[in-house]
Symmetry: C2
Subunit: 307 residues, 2 copies
Protein backbone atom coordinates (compact mmCIF):
# COMPACT_ATOMS: atom_id res chain seq x y z
CA UNK A 1 0.00 0.00 0.00
CA UNK A 2 1.14 3.54 -0.78
CA UNK A 3 2.74 5.05 2.34
CA UNK A 4 0.65 8.24 2.26
CA UNK A 5 -2.57 6.24 1.96
CA UNK A 6 -1.53 4.09 4.90
CA UNK A 7 -0.83 7.24 6.91
CA UNK A 8 -4.25 8.66 6.16
CA UNK A 9 -5.94 5.41 7.12
CA UNK A 10 -4.13 5.31 10.44
CA UNK A 11 -4.79 9.00 11.15
CA UNK A 12 -8.47 8.36 10.57
CA UNK A 13 -8.46 5.37 12.91
CA UNK A 14 -6.24 6.62 15.71
CA UNK A 15 -5.36 10.27 15.16
CA UNK A 16 -2.30 12.20 14.01
CA UNK A 17 -0.13 11.85 17.13
CA UNK A 18 3.41 10.64 16.59
CA UNK A 19 5.15 9.64 19.79
CA UNK A 20 8.78 10.73 19.55
CA UNK A 21 10.98 8.01 21.00
CA UNK A 22 13.71 10.36 22.25
CA UNK A 23 15.25 8.80 25.36
CA UNK A 24 16.96 11.86 26.86
CA UNK A 25 19.22 10.23 29.44
CA UNK A 26 18.72 12.96 32.02
CA UNK A 27 14.94 12.63 31.82
CA UNK A 28 14.62 8.84 32.01
CA UNK A 29 12.75 7.55 35.07
CA UNK A 30 15.37 7.45 37.86
CA UNK A 31 14.17 4.08 39.16
CA UNK A 32 14.95 2.55 35.75
CA UNK A 33 18.30 4.24 35.28
CA UNK A 34 19.45 3.34 38.77
CA UNK A 35 18.38 -0.25 38.36
CA UNK A 36 20.41 -0.79 35.21
CA UNK A 37 23.48 1.12 36.38
CA UNK A 38 23.44 -0.90 39.60
CA UNK A 39 23.07 -4.18 37.75
CA UNK A 40 25.47 -3.56 34.88
CA UNK A 41 27.78 -0.78 36.02
CA UNK A 42 28.48 2.67 34.67
CA UNK A 43 28.74 1.86 30.95
CA UNK A 44 27.05 2.13 27.58
CA UNK A 45 25.61 -1.35 27.73
CA UNK A 46 23.78 -0.53 30.96
CA UNK A 47 22.38 2.66 29.43
CA UNK A 48 21.36 0.73 26.33
CA UNK A 49 19.45 -1.83 28.43
CA UNK A 50 17.75 1.01 30.24
CA UNK A 51 16.70 2.68 26.98
CA UNK A 52 15.48 -0.70 25.74
CA UNK A 53 13.24 -1.33 28.74
CA UNK A 54 12.01 2.24 28.64
CA UNK A 55 11.13 1.95 24.94
CA UNK A 56 9.39 -1.39 25.39
CA UNK A 57 7.23 0.01 28.17
CA UNK A 58 6.29 3.00 26.02
CA UNK A 59 5.37 0.87 23.02
CA UNK A 60 3.32 -1.47 25.19
CA UNK A 61 1.50 1.52 26.71
CA UNK A 62 0.55 3.24 23.46
CA UNK A 63 0.34 0.74 20.62
CA UNK A 64 -3.45 0.45 20.59
CA UNK A 65 -4.14 4.19 20.76
CA UNK A 66 -1.25 5.69 18.77
CA UNK A 67 -0.48 5.05 15.11
CA UNK A 68 3.03 6.39 14.72
CA UNK A 69 6.36 6.44 16.48
CA UNK A 70 9.41 8.45 15.45
CA UNK A 71 12.83 7.33 16.59
CA UNK A 72 15.40 10.13 16.78
CA UNK A 73 18.59 8.28 15.84
CA UNK A 74 20.95 10.61 17.72
CA UNK A 75 19.83 9.25 21.09
CA UNK A 76 20.63 5.69 20.03
CA UNK A 77 23.86 6.53 18.21
CA UNK A 78 24.99 8.20 21.44
CA UNK A 79 25.16 4.72 22.97
CA UNK A 80 27.30 3.31 20.16
CA UNK A 81 26.66 -0.13 18.70
CA UNK A 82 24.79 -1.27 21.87
CA UNK A 83 22.43 1.67 21.33
CA UNK A 84 21.93 0.83 17.68
CA UNK A 85 21.06 -2.76 18.54
CA UNK A 86 18.44 -1.40 20.93
CA UNK A 87 17.13 0.84 18.17
CA UNK A 88 16.80 -2.17 15.88
CA UNK A 89 14.95 -4.13 18.57
CA UNK A 90 12.57 -1.27 19.30
CA UNK A 91 11.89 -0.63 15.61
CA UNK A 92 11.00 -4.30 15.15
CA UNK A 93 8.88 -4.34 18.29
CA UNK A 94 6.97 -1.24 17.19
CA UNK A 95 6.28 -2.66 13.75
CA UNK A 96 5.15 -6.00 15.23
CA UNK A 97 2.68 -4.06 17.35
CA UNK A 98 1.28 -2.42 14.23
CA UNK A 99 2.86 1.00 14.65
CA UNK A 100 4.11 2.93 11.62
CA UNK A 101 7.79 3.69 12.22
CA UNK A 102 9.48 6.91 11.15
CA UNK A 103 13.25 6.99 11.53
CA UNK A 104 14.50 10.49 12.16
CA UNK A 105 18.07 10.37 10.86
CA UNK A 106 18.15 13.46 8.62
CA UNK A 107 20.55 11.66 6.33
CA UNK A 108 22.07 13.49 3.39
CA UNK A 109 24.86 13.11 0.83
CA UNK A 110 25.65 12.99 -2.87
CA UNK A 111 24.00 10.53 -5.17
CA UNK A 112 25.85 7.22 -4.78
CA UNK A 113 26.28 7.67 -1.05
CA UNK A 114 22.71 8.85 -0.55
CA UNK A 115 21.68 5.63 -2.26
CA UNK A 116 23.45 3.65 0.48
CA UNK A 117 21.47 5.46 3.17
CA UNK A 118 18.21 4.90 1.29
CA UNK A 119 18.97 1.21 0.86
CA UNK A 120 20.03 0.85 4.47
CA UNK A 121 16.84 2.25 5.91
CA UNK A 122 14.18 1.70 3.25
CA UNK A 123 14.79 -0.75 0.46
CA UNK A 124 17.79 -3.08 0.63
CA UNK A 125 20.78 -4.29 -1.35
CA UNK A 126 20.52 -5.82 -4.82
CA UNK A 127 23.70 -5.47 -6.76
CA UNK A 128 26.26 -7.26 -6.74
CA UNK A 129 24.47 -10.17 -5.14
CA UNK A 130 22.72 -13.25 -6.49
CA UNK A 131 19.73 -12.68 -4.29
CA UNK A 132 18.87 -9.28 -2.87
CA UNK A 133 19.08 -8.62 0.88
CA UNK A 134 16.23 -6.62 2.42
CA UNK A 135 16.92 -3.42 4.33
CA UNK A 136 18.38 -4.14 7.77
CA UNK A 137 16.37 -1.36 9.37
CA UNK A 138 13.26 -1.69 7.26
CA UNK A 139 11.39 1.31 8.65
CA UNK A 140 8.29 2.85 7.08
CA UNK A 141 9.75 6.32 6.51
CA UNK A 142 13.00 8.23 6.87
CA UNK A 143 13.76 11.93 7.34
CA UNK A 144 16.35 13.47 5.02
CA UNK A 145 18.17 16.82 4.80
CA UNK A 146 17.99 18.78 1.52
CA UNK A 147 21.29 20.73 1.60
CA UNK A 148 22.64 18.87 -1.47
CA UNK A 149 19.65 19.75 -3.65
CA UNK A 150 17.75 17.54 -6.07
CA UNK A 151 20.37 14.98 -7.08
CA UNK A 152 21.18 14.31 -3.43
CA UNK A 153 17.50 13.56 -2.82
CA UNK A 154 16.84 11.51 -5.97
CA UNK A 155 18.18 8.17 -4.65
CA UNK A 156 16.02 8.51 -1.54
CA UNK A 157 12.95 9.06 -3.72
CA UNK A 158 13.85 6.20 -6.05
CA UNK A 159 14.41 3.68 -3.30
CA UNK A 160 11.36 4.80 -1.30
CA UNK A 161 9.17 4.50 -4.37
CA UNK A 162 10.48 1.03 -5.16
CA UNK A 163 9.20 -0.34 -1.85
CA UNK A 164 6.22 1.98 -1.23
CA UNK A 165 7.81 3.72 1.71
CA UNK A 166 7.82 7.30 2.92
CA UNK A 167 10.20 10.24 3.13
CA UNK A 168 10.06 13.46 5.07
CA UNK A 169 12.43 16.12 3.78
CA UNK A 170 13.53 18.65 6.38
CA UNK A 171 12.09 21.96 5.23
CA UNK A 172 11.37 24.42 8.05
CA UNK A 173 12.97 23.65 11.40
CA UNK A 174 11.78 24.78 14.83
CA UNK A 175 14.96 26.28 16.25
CA UNK A 176 15.71 30.01 16.67
CA UNK A 177 18.50 29.91 14.05
CA UNK A 178 16.29 28.27 11.43
CA UNK A 179 15.92 31.48 9.36
CA UNK A 180 19.70 31.91 8.95
CA UNK A 181 19.79 29.64 5.94
CA UNK A 182 16.17 28.62 5.43
CA UNK A 183 14.93 32.18 4.94
CA UNK A 184 17.61 33.05 2.42
CA UNK A 185 16.68 33.21 -1.25
CA UNK A 186 16.27 35.74 -3.99
CA UNK A 187 12.85 35.02 -5.48
CA UNK A 188 11.68 32.52 -2.94
CA UNK A 189 12.92 31.46 0.46
CA UNK A 190 15.01 28.33 0.66
CA UNK A 191 12.49 26.37 2.73
CA UNK A 192 9.79 27.21 0.22
CA UNK A 193 11.99 26.09 -2.66
CA UNK A 194 12.63 22.86 -0.81
CA UNK A 195 8.88 22.25 -0.38
CA UNK A 196 8.33 22.94 -4.08
CA UNK A 197 11.12 20.54 -5.01
CA UNK A 198 9.66 17.80 -2.82
CA UNK A 199 6.23 18.36 -4.35
CA UNK A 200 7.61 17.99 -7.86
CA UNK A 201 9.85 15.02 -7.09
CA UNK A 202 7.02 13.23 -5.30
CA UNK A 203 4.38 13.69 -8.00
CA UNK A 204 4.50 10.02 -8.92
CA UNK A 205 4.18 8.96 -5.30
CA UNK A 206 0.69 10.37 -4.84
CA UNK A 207 -1.81 7.78 -3.69
CA UNK A 208 -5.60 7.49 -3.63
CA UNK A 209 -5.65 9.85 -0.65
CA UNK A 210 -4.27 12.65 -2.82
CA UNK A 211 -1.16 12.81 -0.67
CA UNK A 212 2.36 12.02 -1.74
CA UNK A 213 4.53 9.54 0.14
CA UNK A 214 7.22 12.21 0.17
CA UNK A 215 6.34 14.87 2.72
CA UNK A 216 8.17 17.60 4.58
CA UNK A 217 9.23 18.36 8.14
CA UNK A 218 7.77 21.69 9.22
CA UNK A 219 8.06 23.16 12.69
CA UNK A 220 5.02 24.50 14.51
CA UNK A 221 7.03 27.41 15.88
CA UNK A 222 6.45 29.46 12.75
CA UNK A 223 2.64 29.44 12.35
CA UNK A 224 2.56 31.80 9.40
CA UNK A 225 4.90 29.54 7.44
CA UNK A 226 2.77 26.57 8.34
CA UNK A 227 -0.30 28.28 6.96
CA UNK A 228 1.39 29.31 3.72
CA UNK A 229 2.92 25.91 3.13
CA UNK A 230 -0.42 24.19 3.73
CA UNK A 231 -2.18 26.47 1.25
CA UNK A 232 0.51 26.09 -1.41
CA UNK A 233 1.21 22.37 -1.17
CA UNK A 234 -2.00 20.39 -0.67
CA UNK A 235 -0.39 17.07 -1.60
CA UNK A 236 2.40 17.22 0.98
CA UNK A 237 2.14 15.45 4.31
CA UNK A 238 3.63 17.55 7.11
CA UNK A 239 5.61 15.95 9.87
CA UNK A 240 5.48 18.49 12.69
CA UNK A 241 7.94 18.42 15.55
CA UNK A 242 8.24 21.15 18.11
CA UNK A 243 4.98 20.69 19.92
CA UNK A 244 5.34 21.15 23.65
CA UNK A 245 9.01 21.33 24.60
CA UNK A 246 10.19 23.15 21.50
CA UNK A 247 7.70 25.94 22.04
CA UNK A 248 5.08 25.35 19.38
CA UNK A 249 1.56 25.99 20.62
CA UNK A 250 -1.26 23.60 19.89
CA UNK A 251 -3.52 26.29 18.49
CA UNK A 252 -1.21 27.06 15.57
CA UNK A 253 -1.40 23.43 14.50
CA UNK A 254 -4.84 24.09 13.12
CA UNK A 255 -3.14 25.56 10.04
CA UNK A 256 -1.36 22.31 9.32
CA UNK A 257 -4.49 20.32 8.54
CA UNK A 258 -6.47 20.48 5.33
CA UNK A 259 -10.22 21.05 5.55
CA UNK A 260 -10.74 17.30 5.59
CA UNK A 261 -8.63 17.03 8.76
CA UNK A 262 -5.82 15.23 6.95
CA UNK A 263 -2.28 16.18 6.06
CA UNK A 264 -0.36 16.50 9.31
CA UNK A 265 1.41 14.16 11.68
CA UNK A 266 2.21 15.80 14.98
CA UNK A 267 5.20 14.62 16.97
CA UNK A 268 5.29 14.97 20.74
CA UNK A 269 8.28 13.59 22.60
CA UNK A 270 9.01 14.97 26.05
CA UNK A 271 5.39 16.02 26.65
CA UNK A 272 4.35 12.37 26.46
CA UNK A 273 7.39 10.34 27.51
CA UNK A 274 8.35 12.30 30.59
CA UNK A 275 4.96 13.44 31.85
CA UNK A 276 5.78 11.67 35.14
CA UNK A 277 8.11 14.54 35.99
CA UNK A 278 5.18 16.90 36.45
CA UNK A 279 3.17 14.40 38.44
CA UNK A 280 5.10 14.40 41.69
CA UNK A 281 6.18 10.78 41.23
CA UNK A 282 9.85 11.62 41.22
CA UNK A 283 11.31 8.16 40.83
CA UNK A 284 9.21 7.59 37.74
CA UNK A 285 7.70 4.24 38.71
CA UNK A 286 4.56 3.68 36.67
CA UNK A 287 5.55 6.43 34.20
CA UNK A 288 4.01 4.41 31.39
CA UNK A 289 0.49 4.98 32.68
CA UNK A 290 1.01 8.71 32.25
CA UNK A 291 2.46 8.11 28.78
CA UNK A 292 -0.82 6.47 27.89
CA UNK A 293 -3.01 9.15 29.51
CA UNK A 294 -1.08 11.95 27.84
CA UNK A 295 -1.25 10.22 24.46
CA UNK A 296 -5.03 9.86 24.71
CA UNK A 297 -5.19 13.49 25.74
CA UNK A 298 -3.13 14.66 22.75
CA UNK A 299 -5.15 12.59 20.31
CA UNK A 300 -8.33 14.22 21.60
CA UNK A 301 -6.93 17.70 21.39
CA UNK A 302 -5.69 17.08 17.86
CA UNK A 303 -9.09 15.72 16.87
CA UNK A 304 -10.61 19.05 17.82
CA UNK A 305 -8.07 20.88 15.71
CA UNK A 306 -8.82 18.63 12.75
CA UNK A 307 -12.46 19.72 12.68
Amino acid sequence: MNFADQVCKVVEMKGPLVVGMDPHLELLPPYLLEKWLRERGNNLQALAYCVMEFGELVIEAIHDIVGFVKFQMAFYELLGVPGLMVLKNLVDRAREKGLTVILDGKRNDIASTAACYARAYLSGIEYPLERSIPSFWDVDALTVNPYFGEDGLTPFFEEAKKVNKGLFVVCRTTNPSAPFLQDEGREEKVYFKVARLVERMGEKMIGDSGFSSAGIVVGATYPEDLRMLRAEFPSLLFLIPGVGAQGGGLETLRFAFRDDGMGALVNVSRGVLFAYRESGKLDGRGFERLVRTKSIDYQERFRELQR
Copy 2:
Protein backbone atom coordinates in the same frame (compact mmCIF):
# COMPACT_ATOMS: atom_id res chain seq x y z
CA MET B 1 46.91 18.96 21.02
CA ASN B 2 44.65 21.25 19.02
CA PHE B 3 43.15 19.30 16.11
CA ALA B 4 44.14 21.85 13.46
CA ASP B 5 47.75 21.88 14.70
CA GLN B 6 47.83 18.10 14.58
CA VAL B 7 46.50 18.21 11.02
CA CYS B 8 49.21 20.64 9.94
CA LYS B 9 51.91 18.52 11.52
CA VAL B 10 50.70 15.41 9.73
CA VAL B 11 50.32 17.23 6.41
CA GLU B 12 53.91 18.39 6.71
CA MET B 13 55.13 14.89 7.47
CA LYS B 14 53.06 12.84 5.07
CA GLY B 15 51.06 15.13 2.80
CA PRO B 16 47.41 16.18 2.52
CA LEU B 17 45.93 12.98 1.09
CA VAL B 18 42.88 11.62 2.87
CA VAL B 19 42.01 8.09 1.82
CA GLY B 20 38.24 7.82 1.65
CA MET B 21 37.18 4.47 3.10
CA ASP B 22 34.09 4.06 0.92
CA PRO B 23 33.55 0.36 0.33
CA HIS B 24 31.24 0.49 -2.69
CA LEU B 25 29.96 -3.08 -2.79
CA GLU B 26 29.97 -3.28 -6.56
CA LEU B 27 33.62 -2.20 -6.74
CA LEU B 28 35.08 -4.44 -4.04
CA PRO B 29 37.66 -6.94 -5.30
CA PRO B 30 35.62 -9.89 -6.64
CA TYR B 31 37.96 -12.47 -5.10
CA LEU B 32 37.20 -11.04 -1.64
CA LEU B 33 33.46 -10.69 -2.13
CA GLU B 34 33.15 -14.20 -3.54
CA LYS B 35 35.20 -15.66 -0.71
CA TRP B 36 32.97 -14.21 2.01
CA LEU B 37 29.68 -14.91 0.26
CA ARG B 38 30.79 -18.49 -0.29
CA GLU B 39 31.84 -18.92 3.33
CA ARG B 40 28.98 -17.11 5.03
CA GLY B 41 26.13 -17.03 2.55
CA ASN B 42 24.24 -14.22 0.92
CA ASN B 43 23.71 -11.96 3.93
CA LEU B 44 24.74 -8.74 5.64
CA GLN B 45 27.18 -10.44 7.97
CA ALA B 46 29.11 -11.85 5.02
CA LEU B 47 29.26 -8.43 3.39
CA ALA B 48 30.37 -6.91 6.69
CA TYR B 49 33.22 -9.41 7.01
CA CYS B 50 34.23 -8.60 3.45
CA VAL B 51 34.25 -4.86 4.13
CA MET B 52 36.25 -5.52 7.29
CA GLU B 53 38.97 -7.48 5.53
CA PHE B 54 39.05 -4.95 2.72
CA GLY B 55 39.44 -2.07 5.18
CA GLU B 56 42.15 -3.83 7.17
CA LEU B 57 44.16 -4.46 4.03
CA VAL B 58 43.83 -0.82 2.99
CA ILE B 59 44.91 0.49 6.40
CA GLU B 60 47.87 -1.90 6.47
CA ALA B 61 48.89 -0.76 3.00
CA ILE B 62 48.79 2.98 3.64
CA HIS B 63 49.34 3.74 7.31
CA ASP B 64 53.00 4.73 7.01
CA ILE B 65 52.53 6.98 3.98
CA VAL B 66 49.09 8.49 4.54
CA GLY B 67 48.03 10.63 7.48
CA PHE B 68 44.25 10.67 7.21
CA VAL B 69 41.36 8.36 6.52
CA LYS B 70 37.74 9.39 6.10
CA PHE B 71 35.00 6.85 6.71
CA GLN B 72 31.78 7.55 4.84
CA MET B 73 29.19 6.24 7.31
CA ALA B 74 26.53 5.46 4.69
CA PHE B 75 28.48 2.46 3.38
CA TYR B 76 28.65 0.95 6.86
CA GLU B 77 25.08 1.84 7.86
CA LEU B 78 23.98 0.04 4.70
CA LEU B 79 25.10 -3.19 6.38
CA GLY B 80 23.10 -2.55 9.54
CA VAL B 81 24.52 -3.27 12.99
CA PRO B 82 27.08 -5.74 11.54
CA GLY B 83 28.36 -2.93 9.32
CA LEU B 84 28.55 -0.50 12.24
CA MET B 85 30.58 -2.98 14.25
CA VAL B 86 32.98 -3.20 11.34
CA LEU B 87 33.15 0.59 11.22
CA LYS B 88 34.03 0.64 14.90
CA ASN B 89 36.75 -1.97 14.40
CA LEU B 90 38.23 -0.12 11.43
CA VAL B 91 38.16 3.24 13.21
CA ASP B 92 40.03 1.71 16.14
CA ARG B 93 42.49 -0.05 13.86
CA ALA B 94 43.20 3.16 11.95
CA ARG B 95 43.78 5.15 15.12
CA GLU B 96 46.07 2.44 16.54
CA LYS B 97 48.11 2.70 13.37
CA GLY B 98 48.49 6.44 13.93
CA LEU B 99 46.03 7.63 11.31
CA THR B 100 43.84 10.66 11.96
CA VAL B 101 40.23 9.54 11.53
CA ILE B 102 37.50 11.71 10.04
CA LEU B 103 33.98 10.34 10.28
CA ASP B 104 31.83 11.52 7.40
CA GLY B 105 28.32 11.38 8.85
CA LYS B 106 27.01 14.87 7.96
CA ARG B 107 24.95 14.80 11.14
CA ASN B 108 22.53 17.62 11.87
CA ASP B 109 19.66 18.48 14.19
CA ILE B 110 18.41 20.98 16.75
CA ALA B 111 20.40 21.76 19.85
CA SER B 112 19.71 18.98 22.37
CA THR B 113 19.69 16.32 19.69
CA ALA B 114 22.78 17.70 17.97
CA ALA B 115 24.49 17.40 21.36
CA CYS B 116 23.79 13.65 21.32
CA TYR B 117 25.50 13.28 17.97
CA ALA B 118 28.47 15.35 19.12
CA ARG B 119 28.82 13.29 22.30
CA ALA B 120 28.42 10.03 20.38
CA TYR B 121 31.22 10.72 17.95
CA LEU B 122 33.53 13.19 19.69
CA SER B 123 33.28 13.71 23.43
CA GLY B 124 31.20 11.31 25.50
CA ILE B 125 28.46 11.20 28.12
CA GLU B 126 28.66 13.00 31.46
CA TYR B 127 25.24 13.71 32.87
CA PRO B 128 23.39 11.90 34.61
CA LEU B 129 26.21 9.51 35.51
CA GLU B 130 28.59 9.27 38.43
CA ARG B 131 31.57 8.84 36.16
CA SER B 132 31.53 10.01 32.58
CA ILE B 133 31.67 7.50 29.71
CA PRO B 134 33.96 8.37 26.80
CA SER B 135 32.64 8.59 23.27
CA PHE B 136 31.98 5.13 21.82
CA TRP B 137 33.26 6.13 18.42
CA ASP B 138 35.98 8.48 19.55
CA VAL B 139 37.04 9.76 16.14
CA ASP B 140 39.27 12.78 15.53
CA ALA B 141 36.77 14.77 13.49
CA LEU B 142 33.18 14.64 12.28
CA THR B 143 31.42 16.21 9.30
CA VAL B 144 28.17 18.11 10.01
CA ASN B 145 25.43 19.67 7.88
CA PRO B 146 24.52 23.34 8.46
CA TYR B 147 20.84 23.42 7.43
CA PHE B 148 19.71 24.25 10.99
CA GLY B 149 21.94 27.32 11.31
CA GLU B 150 24.04 28.41 14.25
CA ASP B 151 22.21 26.90 17.21
CA GLY B 152 22.16 23.51 15.50
CA LEU B 153 25.94 23.72 15.13
CA THR B 154 26.75 25.08 18.60
CA PRO B 155 26.66 21.73 20.45
CA PHE B 156 29.04 20.25 17.90
CA PHE B 157 31.46 23.14 18.45
CA GLU B 158 31.15 22.95 22.23
CA GLU B 159 31.76 19.24 22.44
CA ALA B 160 34.59 19.30 19.89
CA LYS B 161 36.31 22.11 21.76
CA LYS B 162 36.01 20.28 25.07
CA VAL B 163 38.08 17.37 23.78
CA ASN B 164 40.27 19.14 21.21
CA LYS B 165 38.69 17.47 18.26
CA GLY B 166 37.78 18.65 14.78
CA LEU B 167 34.68 19.49 12.77
CA PHE B 168 34.12 19.95 9.07
CA VAL B 169 30.89 21.75 8.23
CA VAL B 170 29.46 20.94 4.81
CA CYS B 171 29.65 24.17 2.84
CA ARG B 172 30.03 23.68 -0.91
CA THR B 173 29.22 20.25 -2.25
CA THR B 174 30.48 18.67 -5.48
CA ASN B 175 27.24 17.53 -7.06
CA PRO B 176 25.45 19.14 -10.04
CA SER B 177 22.49 20.25 -7.87
CA ALA B 178 24.70 21.94 -5.28
CA PRO B 179 23.76 25.48 -6.43
CA PHE B 180 20.01 24.90 -5.94
CA LEU B 181 20.19 25.79 -2.28
CA GLN B 182 23.83 26.70 -1.71
CA ASP B 183 23.86 29.53 -4.26
CA GLU B 184 20.72 31.12 -2.91
CA GLY B 185 21.03 34.25 -0.80
CA ARG B 186 20.25 37.91 -1.04
CA GLU B 187 23.47 39.64 -0.02
CA GLU B 188 25.68 36.64 0.08
CA LYS B 189 25.33 33.08 -1.14
CA VAL B 190 24.33 30.47 1.40
CA TYR B 191 27.58 28.51 1.19
CA PHE B 192 29.53 31.71 1.77
CA LYS B 193 27.38 32.58 4.78
CA VAL B 194 28.02 29.10 6.12
CA ALA B 195 31.79 29.56 5.76
CA ARG B 196 31.58 32.90 7.55
CA LEU B 197 29.54 31.37 10.35
CA VAL B 198 32.05 28.55 10.80
CA GLU B 199 34.90 31.06 10.87
CA ARG B 200 33.22 33.08 13.61
CA MET B 201 32.10 30.09 15.66
CA GLY B 202 35.57 28.55 15.46
CA GLU B 203 37.53 31.64 16.48
CA LYS B 204 38.40 30.15 19.84
CA MET B 205 39.51 26.90 18.27
CA ILE B 206 42.45 28.43 16.40
CA GLY B 207 45.76 26.81 17.28
CA ASP B 208 49.41 27.73 16.89
CA SER B 209 49.18 26.89 13.21
CA GLY B 210 46.74 29.74 12.70
CA PHE B 211 44.06 27.27 11.63
CA SER B 212 40.83 26.56 13.42
CA SER B 213 39.79 23.05 14.40
CA ALA B 214 36.46 23.78 12.75
CA GLY B 215 36.86 23.66 8.98
CA ILE B 216 34.58 23.29 5.99
CA VAL B 217 33.85 20.74 3.29
CA VAL B 218 34.38 22.31 -0.14
CA GLY B 219 34.18 20.47 -3.41
CA ALA B 220 36.89 20.79 -6.03
CA THR B 221 34.32 20.83 -8.81
CA TYR B 222 33.78 24.57 -8.44
CA PRO B 223 37.34 26.01 -8.72
CA GLU B 224 36.29 29.65 -8.60
CA ASP B 225 34.46 29.11 -5.31
CA LEU B 226 37.49 27.33 -3.94
CA ARG B 227 39.69 30.31 -4.80
CA MET B 228 37.33 32.85 -3.26
CA LEU B 229 36.81 30.84 -0.09
CA ARG B 230 40.59 30.38 0.35
CA ALA B 231 41.18 34.11 -0.04
CA GLU B 232 38.38 35.09 2.32
CA PHE B 233 38.87 32.52 5.09
CA PRO B 234 42.56 31.95 5.79
CA SER B 235 41.92 30.24 9.13
CA LEU B 236 39.62 27.53 7.75
CA LEU B 237 40.87 24.06 6.92
CA PHE B 238 39.24 22.73 3.76
CA LEU B 239 38.25 19.11 3.47
CA ILE B 240 38.00 18.52 -0.25
CA PRO B 241 36.11 15.56 -1.69
CA GLY B 242 35.37 15.13 -5.34
CA VAL B 243 38.85 14.48 -6.63
CA GLY B 244 38.90 11.83 -9.31
CA ALA B 245 35.53 10.13 -9.53
CA GLN B 246 33.40 13.17 -8.74
CA GLY B 247 35.02 15.15 -11.54
CA GLY B 248 37.29 17.59 -9.76
CA GLY B 249 40.59 18.09 -11.57
CA LEU B 250 43.86 18.09 -9.70
CA GLU B 251 44.97 21.42 -11.16
CA THR B 252 42.14 23.37 -9.53
CA LEU B 253 43.25 22.11 -6.13
CA ARG B 254 46.11 24.58 -6.24
CA PHE B 255 43.61 27.25 -5.13
CA ALA B 256 42.82 25.35 -1.96
CA PHE B 257 46.26 25.73 -0.41
CA ARG B 258 47.62 28.82 1.23
CA ASP B 259 51.01 30.11 0.11
CA ASP B 260 52.65 28.03 2.84
CA GLY B 261 51.18 24.86 1.33
CA MET B 262 48.81 24.33 4.25
CA GLY B 263 45.06 24.49 4.62
CA ALA B 264 43.62 21.66 2.57
CA LEU B 265 43.00 17.97 3.06
CA VAL B 266 42.23 16.20 -0.17
CA ASN B 267 40.06 13.11 -0.12
CA VAL B 268 40.40 10.45 -2.79
CA SER B 269 38.26 7.34 -2.50
CA ARG B 270 37.66 5.33 -5.63
CA GLY B 271 40.83 6.56 -7.34
CA VAL B 272 42.89 4.89 -4.64
CA LEU B 273 40.79 2.00 -3.33
CA PHE B 274 39.73 0.54 -6.64
CA ALA B 275 42.77 1.27 -8.79
CA TYR B 276 43.00 -2.48 -9.44
CA ARG B 277 40.07 -2.13 -11.82
CA GLU B 278 42.19 -0.25 -14.32
CA SER B 279 45.12 -2.60 -13.98
CA GLY B 280 43.78 -5.63 -15.80
CA LYS B 281 43.77 -7.71 -12.61
CA LEU B 282 40.09 -8.33 -12.76
CA ASP B 283 39.67 -10.51 -9.69
CA GLY B 284 41.39 -7.87 -7.55
CA ARG B 285 43.96 -10.09 -5.86
CA GLY B 286 46.79 -7.93 -4.57
CA PHE B 287 44.67 -4.77 -4.93
CA GLU B 288 46.33 -3.37 -1.82
CA ARG B 289 49.67 -2.95 -3.60
CA LEU B 290 47.98 -0.60 -6.06
CA VAL B 291 46.28 1.23 -3.16
CA ARG B 292 49.76 1.92 -1.84
CA THR B 293 51.23 2.93 -5.20
CA LYS B 294 48.33 5.24 -5.97
CA SER B 295 48.55 6.84 -2.52
CA ILE B 296 52.25 7.59 -2.97
CA ASP B 297 51.46 8.97 -6.38
CA TYR B 298 48.73 11.29 -5.07
CA GLN B 299 50.90 12.54 -2.20
CA GLU B 300 53.60 13.48 -4.72
CA ARG B 301 51.19 15.24 -7.03
CA PHE B 302 49.68 17.17 -4.11
CA ARG B 303 53.16 18.15 -2.95
CA GLU B 304 53.74 19.83 -6.29
CA LEU B 305 50.48 21.74 -5.96
CA GLN B 306 51.41 22.88 -2.46
CA ARG B 307 54.51 24.67 -3.76
